[in-house]
């Protein structure tokens, strides 16, 4: 057993693995195995008594949650840990790596915290158990109520250490929820459900939230006043800009451009929906499509030069790409009779969308230039509304596999599908924020 572990560690040890994994942007263990890691509860380094377990195990729990959600790590069960977290050291040389190698851990997260009033100071370290080295050492200071965000930031560092690209756990997901009632309102929270905020509270139907590139605004559509249109919410001030549609028309949905300066939106009048380019006040800059059929669900390419969208001009809803400079569109999907809700990968290479399989809906990706689609979810239930993580390595979506619609996250390959926290109602239309600055 010892020999086997040693061989495994040589194959996927940090140094070797880093070079390999950085090349692929993913963490690939030997034979596709997940990387075994232990996350010790944090040591209380201050004098504060009381319920500090909230932070000691709370921060560790959040780190474990994120590592497991990534699908790249196997977190060794805490109940098997030998050390006492409040008695052993958290720096190199102040604890025994054998206590961790015995458990099969190759990576180890240790840390400590101290409370100063409403503020928390957290030290976190990542160790390479087999080489007996420290890989990351970070100190964070923040509001005690936001301790989970510190955990998310540290996991983003761990993933950066392995892959050369930071993780995406210090992000938020905006979504629509009926919270078990009859209205649909918009919310956002971290992936673990923490720091949940309600964006709309108008007791009507609010739909299609999407983030601005600065992470400070959310564009959404709503029936709250005088028919359906788009609203641009400034999150710091809580103020909305209503996009007043010309004539008797309506704005059905839209997305902010990668430079945050313009919006591509569906404008519908007399039954015809077409794509239009708008400014941030909602004024139409120019019309982008001229088709008598349905043109909806536009989304930007990462360079802002192309728009992926849905059109029924071929007789059924299919995915098309519009080149903004030439004004020309090309069809991307040819298989299936119902393909909708596309989003362009931040990496630029693939488009994710919802496609109908028999009587169910599943998530697919397809190369931007077209080709063979890859089905990522089972047609035993419905999965819809895919959205890319800001690094393009994950996809969030909604699915009714557990009865009601809940939000899920999976790797872009479709592996490691995991449910995010549910609201008790139907949750849908997730939109993944950019990485948060703080």
């Amino acid at each position: 057993m010892k020999v086997l572990l040693l061989v495994f560690s040589l194959m996927v040890g940090f140094d070797i693995d880093c070079a390999l994994a950085q090349f692929k942007g993913e963490i690939v263990g030997s034979g596709g195995q997940k990387f075994p890691i232990a996350v010790s509860p944090l040591r209380n380094l201050g004098n504060a008594g009381g319920d500090t377990g909230r932070f000691s195990t709370g921060i560790a729990d959040s780190i474990v949650h994120d590592l497991e959600l990534s699908g790249w790590f196997r977190v060794i069960d805490r109940s098997s840990y030998i050390e006492s977290p409040q008695a052993s050291g958290i720096t190199l040389g102040s604890f025994d790596f054998k206590d961790w190698s015995t458990l099969g851990a190759e990576g180890l997260v240790k840390g400590g915290f101290s409370l100063r009033g409403d503020e928390i100071v957290v030290e976190l370290r990542l160790f390479d158990v087999y080489q007996g080295k420290e890989r990351i050492a970070k100190r964070y200071t923040g509001g005690a109520g936001q301790f989970r965000r510190i955990a998310h930031k540290f996991v983003d560092e761990i993933i950066n250490q392995f892959t050369g690209i930071p993780g995406v756990f210090n992000t938020q997901i905006a979504y629509v929820s009926n919270s078990g009632g009859r209205f649909k309102e918009i919310y956002y929270s971290h992936l673990d459900g923490s720091e949940k905020r309600q964006v709309t509270d108008n007791r009507t139907i609010n739909l299609s939230p999407s983030w601005g590139a600065n992470g400070r605004s959310i564009l959404y559509s709503s029936f709250q006043d005088r028919g359906q249109t788009l609203y641009l919410r400034d999150l710091p001030s809580g103020k909305d800009i209503r996009f007043n549609p010309p004539g008797a028309g309506r704005f059905l949905s839209g997305k902010l451009s990668p430079d945050d300066q313009s919006i591509v939106a569906t404008y519908e009048t007399a039954g015809n929906s077409n794509l239009h380019l708008l400014d941030r006040s909602g004024a139409i800059i120019r019309r982008l499509t001229q088709d008598p059929g349905i043109e909806v669900s536009p989304a930007w390419s990462p360079d802002g030069k192309q728009i992926v969208y849905v059109s029924d001009r071929s007789g059924s809803p299919q995915i098309f790409v519009l080149d903004l400079q030439s004004g020309k569109s090309r069809r991307v999907t040819y298989s299936g009779s119902y393909n909708t809700s596309p989003e362009w990968s931040p990496r630029g290479d693939r488009i994710v969308y919802t496609g109908r399989v028999g009587s169910k809906f599943a998530i697919f990706t397809i190369p931007v230039e077209g080709g063979e689609p890859r089905k990522l979810t089972s047609e035993a239930f419905d999965s819809e509304d895919p959205t890319w993580s800001p690094d393009g390595r994950f996809i969030a979506f909604s699915s009714n596999r557990a009865g009601k619609y809940h939000l899920y996250v999976m790797q872009a390959s479709g592996e490691n599908q995991r449910r995010l926290t549910g609201s008790g109602g139907d949750d849908s239309k997730p939109s993944w924020s950019p990485r948060l600055v703080d």
Partner: protein, 197 residues
């Protein structure tokens, strides 16, 4: 623009009395009723008899208020069996009018002709399958198809506005074909007169 299609906040529940003329009552004339919950096979184009609304005395029937208003008030967005304006139904992902839908619209047109001052908002609805945004566009197509047909039957275009609720305000909540069929509809609600500003 002669009218606005912004009926989301309009649509007061209006109880029809003699002022709107007489409408067929489901309780006395079940054969002429083609309510949203009825089965498709029970209906034929002949069953919706134009002209029913002009006969008889002072029976009362309900005209629908907007589906959004019903949602806000916690009422199901059901078109009453006694409403003279019936729902027209559509196939999955389609917005062309079946012969059955045309017969219903012809009946609705007759009522509109004999109630010449009434303005109507046509709501397009979809079943829950497919994506919300596509269904909003599809619902708009359905409402427009119904409106275009009514105009072709001689109803003044400025009496008819359209709204799409996509799949957002279903009349039936189950995941079954019968339920989905009831939700794929054009629904007719009384629009308030455009406020003079």
């Amino acid at each position: 623009m002669k009218f606005q299609s912004r009926t989301a906040y309009l649509g007061l529940l209006m109880i029809v009395s003699g002022a709107f003329g007489c409408a067929p009552s489901a309780t006395t004339k079940p054969a002429s009723s083609s309510s949203g919950s009825g089965s498709a096979s029970a209906k034929s184009p002949d069953s919706a008899r134009p002209g029913d609304g002009q006969r008889g005395g002072t029976k009362e029937s309900d005209l629908a208020s907007s589906s959004l208003k019903s949602l806000q008030e916690g009422k199901p967005p059901i078109t009453s069996a006694s409403s003279p304006l019936k729902d027209a139904f559509f196939d999955f992902d389609r917005y062309d009018l079946s012969s059955e839908a045309r017969a219903i619209l012809q009946s609705n047109a007759e009522w509109l002709k004999s109630n010449g001052s009434t303005r109507v908002d046509i709501e397009g609805h979809c079943d829950e399958r497919g994506t919300n945004e596509y269904n909003l566009a599809l619902g708009a197509k359905r409402a427009q198809a119904a409106r275009d047909y009514l105009v072709s039957l001689g109803i003044a275009a400025d009496r008819l506005s359209t709204t799409s609720y996509g799949e957002e305000i279903p009349v039936c909540q189950e995941r079954s074909e019968d339920c989905w069929r009831q939700n794929r509809r054009a629904r007719f609600v009384i629009a308030e007169r455009r406020p003079t500003t």
